[in-house]
Symmetry: C2
């Protein structure tokens, strides 16, 4: 290294308040903001820090972005899919039924996707950074078998985001419930089914004790991105160096959350199966009907939201290209490894 | 934000020399170091920078780590699989036949894998940061069809890393050739086949002009990680803040390289197919024979290198758990999306 004398740099002391959409008990999701906060502090010797508030402290979890709008927080760590009432295009920052998987999402974000989303977010005085991903989720917990699409008729299912609109087209009755309300509703039979996240988080909610059938895959969320949505004025007030540091910290958090899920889900899945959970693939006709219904939902959203149309068309075109490529190299490799393992 | 008066922080001026193992023409691989260098500079307002030298300038590409050992570079951006002569365990930092895919590699690195590799690297006065990934590679270019494992008998194939040892067990005659030598050797018939990377990079080498059969998947490299190997003394001389910044910059580069491959490979694949390339899956018996041979190679390496045994056992155990989990959520989702797309 060529070392020259150190220079003195001005380091503004900035402490962000981050409103998390998640409770501390969902440690992997909540931890995304903690990883981000630790990284910005380490990268600035404590000059740029963040204090994280769990869901409910500055705002209800599903309204964390409103804490930013009201100036109670500088940023929120959240799922943009919670804000469909602002514009349905917010779903495209997080997850859409039959959308890109986690890796395709990251690739799209770094290929112009992030800029398209920031145009949307700017209308609400927000700036976004991808700050975590859960990987493909599970389909959910069902009290009774789902043998055909007809079994969804009248089914009360807890499901969030655009997945709810797809389930509605299939004849189900989607119920919006927060995490804490899912177990009691399922236990009392007020709902028949519930999707949540995946084995590690689902195990914590204890849903397997009241619904034994665990369906896969989670077509409603094939690779959901978790966002840091930052107040635009707060972002613009950062020195350029801190913006770069926040970007690097978000990249660490983005990869770390997915890595933690990939490390934690296998054991949870084993334990769930040992506890009597019945793992079942969605029947083919359910998958195909849901796919078809999702296309109808998208066609309707194209009419309602020009932003949804513009961003979804770009994202779907990118995803289609990647699916083509994954059919050649990634999938045959992964499928072969799965076959070798299933032989024991 | 709670803003307090800015403090003055001492910012040492540090300029690293990074020896790349790659030529500038392989812009996605080479670009990993450029993304890293841009990020550290932006995060320090230009106090911590890096100058990158392409393969051949400070050391031959396959010996970039030696430039670090000899003090000609502070770090190298390379594939640790180039240094099997130091210890075969170096392969585990990059890619092994039938090893983890890109996402599983990242998850393992962040679940104790990076620390295990750093123990290995420390024996050679190096510290490692994951700084890119190509995703699953292609099997390679073959002048003649491969219909059965017997067709590999005596086949002269350009292949690097542990994949070469597996091909040797299958009766082939692996040839170590640098990137620039592959096309002429294949054109003159000095070799019969060559694996390189994937559509985007392979297209640049023009291999399709002299070998039309393009086999998949690249079982020799299902998700190769690219490393920044840093001189241990240079790393330890960094202020804690710069270490955190380098870690963040590497995370950006790690994700960006994979994203670029995922964005660029689909178009290159289309163009190759339009140019008459014949895409072919490896026959099942070739895949299974290669898998079996890889297990034999690993058993032999366990005898030769305690580090290989220790790290490979840990990596394989993690990978096996992830493959189990991917069989439930990720793969069925990805396979369904591929099926929908193949219907057009």
């Amino acid at each position: 290294a060529l070392a020259a004398p150190a220079v003195a740099q001005s380091a503004p002391q900035i402490k962000w308040r981050i409103a998390s959409s998640f409770p501390k008990s969902l440690d992997t999701l909540y931890g995304g903001a903690e990883v981000f906060a630790k990284a910005i502090s380490e990268m600035t010797d404590g000059a740029f820090t963040a204090q994280i508030s769990p869901a409910g402290e500055l705002a209800p979890g599903l309204q964390a972005a409103d804490a930013v709008a009201r100036g109670r927080a500088d940023a929120c760590h959240t799922s943009s899919a919670y804000y469909l009432d602002k514009d349905p295009a917010f779903a495209l920052g997080a997850a859409t039924p039959f959308g890109p998987n986690a890796r395709q999402t990251n690739a799209w974000l770094r290929s112009g996707g992030a800029e398209m989303l920031d145009e949307l977010y700017a209308r609400f005085d927000l700036v976004g950074l991808a700050c975590g991903n859960t990987g493909a989720q599970m389909g959910g917990w069902f009290r009774k078998d789902v043998n055909a699409v007809g079994d969804l008729q009248g089914l009360k299912i807890r499901v969030s985001g655009l997945g709810a609109q797809v389930f509605a087209k299939l004849g189900a009755a989607p119920q919006p419930l927060g995490g804490g309300d899912v177990y009691p509703a399922l236990e009392k039979g007020e709902i028949d089914a519930a999707e949540w996240i995946g084995p590690y988080d689902d195990q914590k909610l204890g849903l397997y004790q009241v619904a034994k059938n665990y369906y896969y895959p989670g077509w409603q969320a094939g690779g959901p991105s978790v966002q840091l949505l930052i107040g635009k004025a707060k972002w613009e007030a950062l020195p350029a160096r801190y913006k770069a540091i926040a970007t690097g910290a978000a990249a660490i958090a983005n990869e770390t959350m997915l890595a933690r899920y990939d490390a934690q889900n296998p054991r949870a899945l084993r334990e769930l199966v040992a506890a009597g959970v019945k793992l079942k693939p969605y029947p083919k006709d359910v998958m195909e009907a849901a796919y078809k219904a999702s296309q109808e939902v998208y066609a309707e959203l194209y009419q309602k939201s020009p932003a949804f149309k513009k961003i979804h068309e770009a994202q779907a075109a990118f995803r289609n290209e990647d699916v083509l490529w994954f059919r050649v190299a990634e999938l045959p490799f992964d499928v072969f490894m799965a076959q070798m393992q299933s032989r024991g």
